[in-house]
Amino acid sequence: MSVVTGRAKKGNRLPMLAQAGPVSLWMIVFVTLPMLFIIFISFMSRGTFGGVEYTPSMESYETMMEITYFHVITKSIGVAAETTIACLLVGYPFAYYIARKPADVASRLITLLMIPFWTNSLMRLNAWMLIFQTNGPVNNFLVNVNLIEKPITFIFTDGLVLLGLITNYLPFAVLPMYSSIEKLEKPVLEASADLGANPRQTLLKVTLPLTIPGIFSAIILTFIPALGTYVITDMLGGGKVLYIGNIIKNQFGTIRNWPLGAALSVLLLAITALMLFLYSRFAKVEDMEVV
């Protein structure tokens, strides 16, 4: 019906322009053009005093393959993958438990999940730092129960960064999985039980396969931001732990090698595109749950 009303009034395009126009214009000017431009810049050369020189070259992609950068890239991908796996392993049972509760309890549990994430994220990361300080509560406890003799250095380590990443991105994994588990129709699960499947079989052979789109959304919504962050590594790694995000940021700050920063950004774009392509084989990308 909406299609018909939209097309029948071809004579008067004003309402359509007024409604769909601003958003389309905004997206083209501030998303499409910058994305195209950064791809373009990545194939240019570095200016002598920083910035860009508009002569085509593959220089920045070659630099990216040098061992130091390549190491950072593989390490970032590894840590993002660890974060994602942890978020799935914790997030799926968590989402499953909530989704199986009556609707009013479930919505309260979801609100309870959201509230901490409306507080300042940097201060929450800082709190992990305080908890794991050399003379912080965790070390004090471990020393007092004689599990360790001297305090362990947790801060500025990859381990603490990983903890920060997991606790920061877990809700983004929980929400899409929750909504896909919640959408499962009761009759389907009942049919599985009626046909003699025990709860474990139902989970493995019915629930899990049917919620793959939700799981895949969760993967995209944790893996990609975890791959690009520099804030969590800055806050918990103390500048000692470098990931792709930090390298990109530095190219536009002190180091001023724009084409290299652009090339690394294009790498992240390519990984994102690949993930979305894989997703499109399981489900429609437009239906991905993101809010």
Partner: protein
């Protein structure tokens, strides 16, 4: 063994099976709430900088509200101005766009839908850097305007999604009814369409505001040499150690936000009640009309 005993044993087993679940859920929720509680606790820390607990004091709160720490308040005000501007722009464009993209078919609609997806899935640093390069090449001075533009670019897609989710078949029936009764398109839009999606507009505004006020990466990259927003200030202060007055300020912000949420909750409940009441009223009228018609026959 009596039947009752069997039932009891089964109940007991069920209860036992629940224990690991309860432990698991509690642990996960604890991992979300412990950092928030530690953050609040350290606003009462009697130390110059927050590294370890040095004893209890409340003096950071009066100190905070004596506005001695200018940088902190300036950063907060700057963040609030940006968040309000970004929210207003994003909600206006998002509401119009959500309605337009749902209602009309046009060339390139698929493309625009794809573009709306990009700021949500692409790493924020890539969005930030690509806008930064464009601004620098064109020669736009970095500052308030560029940060607001950056925030709108990731808030608009969320606003559009929320609004699209609110528009259902009912809305179209209402619009048609309104136009049949002689209202112009603009009147219908303002008096029928907008009120019918009001809860969606409120959640879009809430979402945009919280995304904007907590944003670090885009605010950091697009700020240039200008004033820092609060999160960017915290990120830079972190190198030398967070001072407890920052914890006090963020604690106050948590309380304000909880109040805001409660108010929104009440407003949405009122809206629901009103909707239900007007539905009941129209049902009543239809029933009365039907009765009258029957009597007439």
């Amino acid at each position: 063994m009596s039947r009752e005993g069997k039932v009891n044993r089964r109940l007991q087993r069920q209860r036992l099976r629940k224990i690991p679940w309860t432990v698991f859920m509690t642990l996960v929720y604890a991992s979300f709430y412990i950092p928030v509680m530690v953050m609040i606790l350290f606003s009462f820390n009697d130390a110059k900088r927050n590294y370890s607990w040095m004893g209890f004091t409340t003096h950071w709160y009066p100190k905070l509200f004596s506005f001695g720490n200018h940088d902190l308040w300036e950063a907060l005000v700057y963040s609030l101005i940006i968040a309000v501007l970004a929210t207003v722009i994003s909600v206006v464009i998002g509401v119009l766009g959500g309605i337009g993209l749902k209602k009309y078919e046009f060339h390139g609609k698929k493309f625009i839908n794809m573009m709306l997806f990009i700021p949500i899935v692409v790493p924020e640093i890539v969005m930030a850097v690509s806008m930064l390069i464009i601004f620098m090449v064109i020669g736009v001075k970095l500052g308030l305007a560029t940060i607001v533009i950056g925030h709108c670019t990731f808030c608009i897609p969320y606003a559009v999604i929320v609004i699209k989710g609110r528009i259902t078949g009912d809305n179209e029936t209402l619009q048609e009814a309104s136009m049949d009764l002689g209202a112009t398109k603009l009147q219908t839009f303002i008096k029928v369409t907008i009120p019918s999606i009001m809860p969606g507009i409120m959640s879009a505004a809430f979402l945009s505001f919280t995304l904007s006020i907590d944003d670090v990466i885009i605010s950091n990259m697009l700020a240039g040499a200008s004033q820092s927003t609060l999160p960017v200030l915290i990120l830079s202060v972190n190198r030398t150690g967070i001072t407890p007055d920052i914890n006090a300020l963020t604690t106050v912000m948590v309380i304000v936000m909880l109040f805001g949420m409660a108010i929104m909750n009440v407003l949405q409940r009122i809206h629901k009640k009103r909707e239900a009441a007007s539905l009941a009223e129209s049902d009543e009228r239809i029933r009365a009309a039907r009765l009258a018609a029957e009597e007439y026959n």
